[in-house]
Symmetry: C2
Subunit: 197 residues, 2 copies
Amino acid sequence: MSALALHPAAQDLLFREARTANAFTAEPVTEEQVQAIYDLVKYAPTAYNQSPLRIVLVRSDEARERLVPHMAEGNRPKTAAAPLVAVLAADNEFHEELPALLPHFPQAKDRIFADRPVREESALLNATLQAAYFILGVRAAGLAAGPMTGFDFPGVQKEFLDGDHTPLMVVNIGRPGANAWFPRSPRLAYDQVVTTV
Amino acid sequence: MSALALHPAAQDLLFREARTANAFTAEPVTEEQVQAIYDLVKYAPTAYNQSPLRIVLVRSDEARERLVPHMAEGNRPKTAAAPLVAVLAADNEFHEELPALLPHFPQAKDRIFADRPVREESALLNATLQAAYFILGVRAAGLAAGPMTGFDFPGVQKEFLDGDHTPLMVVNIGRPGANAWFPRSPRLAYDQVVTTV
């Protein structure tokens, strides 16, 4: 018997059969799909419920043309061709929303997150957790994600964000096309990763 | 019709009904369960398949007694009482495994990750993604996770890790006990998080 409660079909959809896609079909990714993804993954945990992830959906041709030159050369063709591209970023001013997000401890805004360096570190960690939830959420929608950190961070920040937001990654989203991925690479064995004390 | 392919029961198990637990039953978390969690979440993506997450399972009373004093005061009782506690860390020397992990581009070890600061930044980002996958993997096993960043990082590093490893978070794991959580806090609305260009 499996030690997991999650249904095997869901294990496959999210982890075992899902793959990072490098090629996509032309089928559009709808606003409804992105809303459903967000409405699922928004519940996954962050420290103090700070929820610092912000998402810019690059939908217009004009915006796509501004994004592609900032990608590393090897990432440009797939970023140009993906049905939807999302810029994921951390909001370093997330504390402004904290009194609404943490009604049982609204003082956290000033007591814990008054200092910008503290906020930046916390926003980076927690928005990265949320980026992982988002990637799995894309898969939960039956789509493939192609997350990339190979891009000019200051360039993407200047083009699409502002000083309050730090870019984390760019994610191509769509249905996998022909030859969408390499063969699966090996993973570390349990004993290489987990030690017991 | 739902815009998600993931079965509603799996949505509930991983996101909608799962909660960060602050209290647990006495039921042990078995080695088999942790192995099943790892064997699921190991497939989720990291850059260059670098897989930098390392996990220390704190199982002995002696190790638990070393850990608890390094936790923030508010985190000590639950960390002392949880059936299992895991220290999650980023391996800053992950590049040593890269030739095995990335057989189609073994040169990545030296071409991309020769410099320690580059490795530290990449390990932090990618191990944090894997920490999020791990939290959802705990939920996939029908268990509750209690991730915490409120602890003395140098203290935990010195007690349980070495200079090659940076602590990320400590996670309590078990079946939720009585009054395991606060009421769910609000989440940001879609329009507060997602913009379209």
